[in-house]
Amino acid sequence: MKLSLIWRLLARDWRGGELGILIFALVLAVSVIVGISSFVTRLQSALMSESARFLAADLVIVSRSDLPTAWAEEAARLGLQTSDLLGFPSMAVADIDHMALVSIKAVSDGYPLRGALQWSAEPYGPLRTEGAIPLPGEVWLAPRLFSLLAVESGDQITVGETLLSVSGSVRSEPDATTAVFGFGPRLLMNTADIPATGVVQPGSRVEYRLLISGPAIATTAFEDWITPQLQEGQRVQSVEGTQPRIGDTLDRAQGFLLLAGSLAVVLAAAAITLASRRFGVRHTQYVAILKSLGAQSHEISRLYGASLFCLGAVTTVVGCALGWLMQEAFILVLGSLLPLTPGAAGGQPFAMGVATSAVCLACFAWPPLSRLGQAPPLLVLRADVQVDDVQKPTDFLLGGAAIIALMWWYSGSATVTAAVVGGLVMVVALGFLVARLLLSGGRKMGGFAGSIWRIALAGLQRRGRANALQMVIFAITIMLMLLLSVVRSSLISQWQDQLPPGVPNHFMLNLAPAERPLLTEFFDDNGIRSEVLYPMTRGRVIAVNDSALPEWDETESSDAPRQRGANFTWSDTVPAGNALKEGDWWDPDTEEPWVSIEEDFAEGIGAKVGDQVSLRIGADIVHAKIKNIREVDWQSMRPNFFMVFPRAVLEAYPGMYMTSFLLAAEQKSLLNKLVLAFPTVTVIELDVVIEEMRSVVSQVARALELVLAVILLAGSLVLVAGVQSSLDGRLKESALLRALGARRQVVLGTLWIEFLVLGALAGALGSAGAEAAAWGLQTAVFDMTWTPTVLMWWLGPLLGALTVGTLGVWSCRRVVNTPPVILLREV
């Protein structure tokens, strides 16, 4: 078979309008998969670099002792970048009246290897990122150290035995949460000045870090090389295990995108099946003519196989190109917000696109066409020859298996697949049942109604099987469209709930008990809204049920229960934002030695409800019985505690207080007044992080809108394909009605009724399926609370009726606008 002939036949089919839906559905399937999977791959790589930002490197070697120079040399040999860092708590002295305990971080050239260090020339001044690190002889101070030490830029302070000049204020360090060296505010200096300070001596509490970054292969090779050489007190920190704050949001967004991709493929597969079936039915006569002209069965199969292959090749190329454009559009929408590595998507998404195309062609498009070769040539002589249906029940089994496999592959989650497939199975089963009951009952009802209703309902019943199939396809489409809309809305509202307007953006620690009224007054005077003040005592869990727990160092690399240090508080009620997982809360007046433990912490010390834990608080040993286990939302921006005691147990121990509060951008300078008024407190500024999270959420929400639009487009396509699949029969009947003298209104009326009834039924079924799948997805996948969507239950049938009705009547409009004789000749 000549390729040119195949192209010509395809071109003729295209011109004849036979291929439109098939081509469109194939392009859609490939482009959505390529688009979404490239975007998700790039998002994942962005997440990795975001995680790397939190380490300031791809890999960090942490040690209590000086690191051998051979390690940095080996890293350099592997082509990796390195930077030294050391941290320790020490005193910074401005003059005899002004000194402060600080957390010193000494950095060398290249720091940070990942992420950016933000600083300003003046405390709370405009942020800068250029200039990298303090020069030798200079220090950058945390903003509030300026007031604590009563210094300005250009003044000198003493660290150990050396004088250093204050040249800036350190505002945001990428590794602030992973590199903590004591509680004091930060002092950033150059490693070149460390020997002169004389602070670092053998035995002093210094943490040495070697930061490493470079290609993944080289960092992995280095990690493999270094791990066996690590001594006691040395460990490796890698990107896995450091989760950025926005990680959870992006994780769920990815889950949503992959779900959307899977649904798009299900919709495209449905469109392909319908379009291919119609193509097969319409080509049966075509093939009979070809066979009467001498074409052999295998030639017909080859012809259609090759045509499909060519069609697949073109649509795959176009789909890949469109998919690439789609993910570029996503990136454009997300802007420069995410630190995305260009080209990180690689070839994998395109491979997925090609595989999707191959599966769609083989499992959905090919089966109806594969049987065309069997069409009897006798059809050209006699129209009454029995023709086998181009589609067999086994096709649907094959298609179903392919859909499950594809969904599983894309979503990478058996739970997602099970939830959606469960909903689909429900819709299919209920659909055929309802179709059977209602369509046959409808005929009886129609008998009592007017002629328009009688003709319409009789038509529905006459094409009962085809209508049931059509209704189920409509129902599946409506279900998937509703499902995605529901999941999107609840995801977005959940994100917004997580960071509601007015969420605290600063934490304050170390407030002395006597200072509480003064602080409240300060907040009131300045119009600052704060959370409750929580008492805070530090201690260490040393035993569970009188069995001593091992120290940290002995079990550093294992998950075995070990001693844990933590901040404790007391409370009369369950702290806001916490949920009891096991056990119950205590009476506020209780004097029993009870304790409430956070679930992961309980796991870390190997304890459960009813166990007795022993704690060291200061010089005392305290025993308490676990009353309950709590789930804590660590992203709530409220003070959260691993262990909470009844008031009577903890009140006796000296402790400091903590709280969180909201400070608007224009109130930022109040921080200086605050730290001057309360010199002992530590303020943790989270406003930048919260703004970043808000921005990510709103951008990600926009990306989800885009994807939803694509899915709605895919759904509309299936609806069009569905309506078209029964078009020939309807056109013929309507033309006959008109030929018999039926008025325009009668023909239009019957069409409206048929499609409205089909659409409304499909909408109701779709709502049921969407609700079932949403329940599965929200509870098992997205970790959200499921609430029935009442709106969907009446919106589904209404939208179904309107959409299917309008599309159906619009597709059949020719029947009232074209003379019946022409229609009858054509169909």
Binding site: K2, G16, S292
Partner: protein, 220 residues
């Protein structure tokens, strides 16, 4: 040459087996024209389908140029049609998505004949449709569509041409013109013509005439 011996065709129905053809014997020499005349439902079209190898007989044998059809499988019969047989149908059987030119080109392209477009255009010119090459079937009149079908049938220069009620869907005057064309082209290309019709006048123009009554064939 076409030879048929003791041909039987039975189809199962709800009321038991129905004999459509009951022992047909027939010989049509090469280059001659034969008409099979009969009322609707007498079995004419069934016989034509069997002669063209598009259906299988219940019993009996058909030889086309000495080749026994019963011994050929479906693909071999299709091959025989491609090489030796042309068709003209009552309902034209043109492909609606193809232009007149493309419809005529189709069998040539399927056979891999070079210069299909030129040959097709030449035959369409011969049937007087040189101004309708790019027209689609729906924009052609019935007579014009049948002339496209005739051009398609002759374009492959077949040894045998089967025509099933070629004027059945046409008015009398158009029908006469189409028949005139059919016989003229047949005379030029020396094709064996087998015509199924219920039109006695048309049958009279053929060398041989057979009457089909209730599945039995009689020379007229």
């Amino acid at each position: 040459m076409i030879k048929v011996s003791h041909l039987l065709k039975t189809v199962p129905t709800a009321d038991g087996d129905l004999d459509i053809l009951r022992g047909i014997d027939l010989e049509i020499p090469a280059g001659s024209s034969a008409a099979i005349v009969g009322a609707s439902g007498s079995g004419k079209s069934t016989l034509l389908g069997l002669l063209a190898g598009m259906d299988m007989a219940t019993a009996g044998q058909i030889w086309i140029d000495g080749e026994p059809l019963a011994d050929l499988n479906e693909d071999q019969r299709a091959n025989l049609r491609a090489e030796k047989v042309g068709f003209v149908f009552q309902s034209f059987q043109l492909l609606p998505s193809l232009t007149a030119l493309e419809n005529v080109m189709l069998p040539l392209e399927l056979a891999g004949v070079a210069g299909a477009a030129d040959t097709a255009a030449r035959f369409l010119t011969e049937v007087g449709l040189e101004n309708r090459l790019e027209h689609y079937p729906t924009t052609l009149s019935g007579g014009e569509q049948q002339r496209v079908a005739i051009a398609r049938a002759f374009a492959r220069e077949p040894r045998i041409l089967f025509a099933d009620e070629p004027t059945g869907n046409l008015d009398t005057r158009t029908g006469e013109r189409v028949i005139e064309l059919l016989f003229t082209l047949n005379a030029i290309s020396r094709t064996t013509l087998v015509l199924v019709t219920h039109d006695e006048q048309l049958a009279k123009r053929c060398d041989l005439r057979f009457g089909m009554v209730a599945g039995e064939l009689q020379p007229l």
